[in-house]
């Protein structure tokens, strides 16, 4: 792939640039630290591209406007942080239920509540999974660099379009605010999911046969969109078999495309004794440690970094647990993903959480020190 000159880019900026590269032309949002840069960049760039930027009256309205614009046929994005992300939850559930594609960015900050607005944390992992009510599926990406932010945002837009499913980009303050060198391919060299322009004559918005493209409003297909359980034409139903089928449908599409959605990366020893499982900015500290321990000192250690948090990389974790004696899970919270690791490790490895929740990053030294207990 031909790549242009390296550039210096901020994480939040990479999110906006990735979205634009993937065809996003509508942004609705509300100011909140530490995600505001995404909005500011979209406000500067979208009008030049003929797109729409709108600052809404609140976070709830932002989420609603994004869904409205998606139904109009635009690719959409909204960005927020902790408190604002909480406010968006009801309408995120609506988008899941009505199968409206959109990408929601949450640049995590220290919570709960107003917390420490400028301090990094990874406390929203479970909120991205279960923030909205009901038994819903969700896709969540967690980048560990500016480069990954760019590419995962494109992947988020693509998957969201293809599966008609909201996708959440879960950044943390460190990744959102840091600037680093990235290589961005020329426009046109990126893999961007095309909109389908051939609509079958018997098109149904929620075809029981499976995935079906969204035909925007205004093109003569008079269907109904609702947050109520609905039949394949979108009309409300409370009929138990249809309700069950509808829930199976929205979960089933993620299961079917699971391997396209779940992204992880392993570096280190082929037969590791100790493996670190990390995501977001914590990956960087872990990688510094593994590079030294494995690349320099040939110790039996490895790092499984999770770019996808939800659906949880169950198979990958289960496989690692069979190899390793110990799995260390560093997180900038009181322990969230560690529960999932435990669940899928099935007792095959000792699971050791490493938690930090004082608003600072976990340092490589902290991980090294813990690692030293087994090596």
């Amino acid at each position: 792939m031909a790549e242009t000159k390296p550039v210096l880019m901020q994480g939040n900026e990479a999110c906006a640039e990735g979205a634009i590269s993937a065809g996003v032309r509508f942004y609705a949002g509300y100011p909140i630290t530490p995600s505001t840069e995404v909005a500011e960049l979209m406000a500067a760039k979208l009008p030049e591209l003929g797109g729409v930027f709108i600052q809404m009256e609140d976070e709830i309205a932002s989420m609603a406007a994004v869904i409205g614009a998606s139904i109009g046929g635009m690719r959409t994005l909204t960005a927020s942080s902790g408190p604002g992300f909480s406010l968006k939850q009801e309408n995120i559930g609506y988008a899941i239920m009505a199968e409206i594609p959109c990408v929601i960015v949450n640049v995590q900050r220290m919570g709960p509540s107003t917390g420490v607005p400028t301090a990094p944390a990874q406390g929203d992992v479970m909120q991205t999974r279960w923030g909205t009510h009901g038994d819903h599926p969700i896709i969540v990406f967690s980048p560990a660099s500016v480069y990954e932010t760019f590419y995962l945002t494109i992947a988020a837009v693509n998957l969201s379009q293809k599966l008609r499913q909201p996708v959440i980009m879960l950044l943390d303050e460190v990744i959102g605010h840091m600037r680093e060198k990235v290589l961005i391919p020329e426009a046109g060299k990126l893999l961007v999911e095309k909109s389908s322009d051939n609509v079958p004559a018997d098109w149904k918005p929620y075809d029981e046969k499976g995935l079906t493209p969204l035909v925007p409003f205004g093109f003569g297909h008079y269907y109904h969109v609702t947050g109520l359980f609905h039949d394949q034409y979108g009309f409300p139903t409370g009929d138990p078999p249809q309700v069950e089928r509808a829930l199976d449908r929205i979960h089933g599409k993620l299961e079917k495309y699971r391997d396209e959605i779940v992204l992880t990366n392993y570096i280190g020893h082929k037969e590791p004794r100790v493996v670190i499982i990390a995501y977001g900015c914590t990956v960087r500290s872990a990688r510094a440690v593994v590079k030294k321990a494995y690349w320099q000192n040939r110790l039996p250690v490895g790092l499984l970094s999770l770019q996808t948090l939800w659906p949880f990389p169950d198979k990958e974790v289960a496989a690692i647990a069979k190899q390793a004696d110990v799995i260390i899970v560093p997180e900038m919270n009181m322990g969230q993903i560690v529960g999932e690791v435990e669940r899928y490790a099935c007792g095959n490895a000792e699971i050791v959480p490493l938690n930090r929740y004082d608003g600072e990053m976990i340092s490589p030294d902290q991980i090294s020190e813990l690692l030293g207990r087994w090596l």
Partner: protein, 192 residues
């Protein structure tokens, strides 16, 4: 990891340290190096203390935060008092003697330069003190190729101020070179 250079720019909000850190990072990218730039946000960034870090390395940079500065810039007294005790002896320290005074241990490599004063008196604009500081840092460390650095300044400086900012950068070089010649140091001279 021996190639890792950690630069910490400290001072007060409004002294242009964040922009300076971004320009330094941009220059390093243009010089084909790996770089990560971070900064302190929040109430600290609103008029009070300001801090930005730039890590430059030929290898991939993993941990993005500055932990052992190899270069420290202090643009006011508060930052000088706060950060000096935290750095190692090998750290190259540049202070703006316009705002910083006091005597410190001789074993620190402290270079005191009248950065803001020179910007004001020789270029007529205090706001370019940040570029002057970058010139002094680069003169002291050779972090980035000088010409590439100058080009990066021109590119990122506010419209119409590219040349002035380049002049400030060059003046920083001169100040550092002259300052070293005169053995100017904070421990041997107390600015007024």
């Amino acid at each position: 990891m021996s190639n890792r250079q950690e630069v910490l720019l400290t001072g007060a909000g409004g002294q242009g340290l964040i922009l300076a850190s971004i320009i330094l990072a941009e220059a390093a990218v243009n010089d084909n190096k790996n770089v990560v730039q971070t900064q302190s946000y929040g109430p600290e960034a609103r008029g009070g203390a300001s801090m930005a870090g730039v890590i430059i390395d030929v290898d991939t940079i993993e941990y993005p935060k500055v932990t052992k500065p190899s270069v420290l810039l202090c643009m006011n007294q508060a930052s000088f008092n706060k950060y000096i005790p935290k750095v190692e002896e090998s750290c190259i320290i540049i202070v703006d003697s316009t705002f910083v005074s006091g005597s410190y241990r001789e074993d620190y490599k402290i270079t005191a330069l009248p950065i803001t004063q020179a910007a004001r008196e020789q270029l007529g604009r205090e706001v370019v003190a940040n570029m002057l500081a970058l010139g002094a840092i680069n003169a002291a460390t050779g972090l980035v190729d000088r010409e590439i650095f100058r080009e990066s300044i021109f590119k990122l400086a506010p419209k119409g101020s590219g040349e002035l900012n380049q002049q400030a950068f060059d003046l920083g070089y001169r100040l550092f070179n002259e300052g070293m010649g005169q053995n100017l140091g904070i421990s041997s001279q107390t600015p007024q």
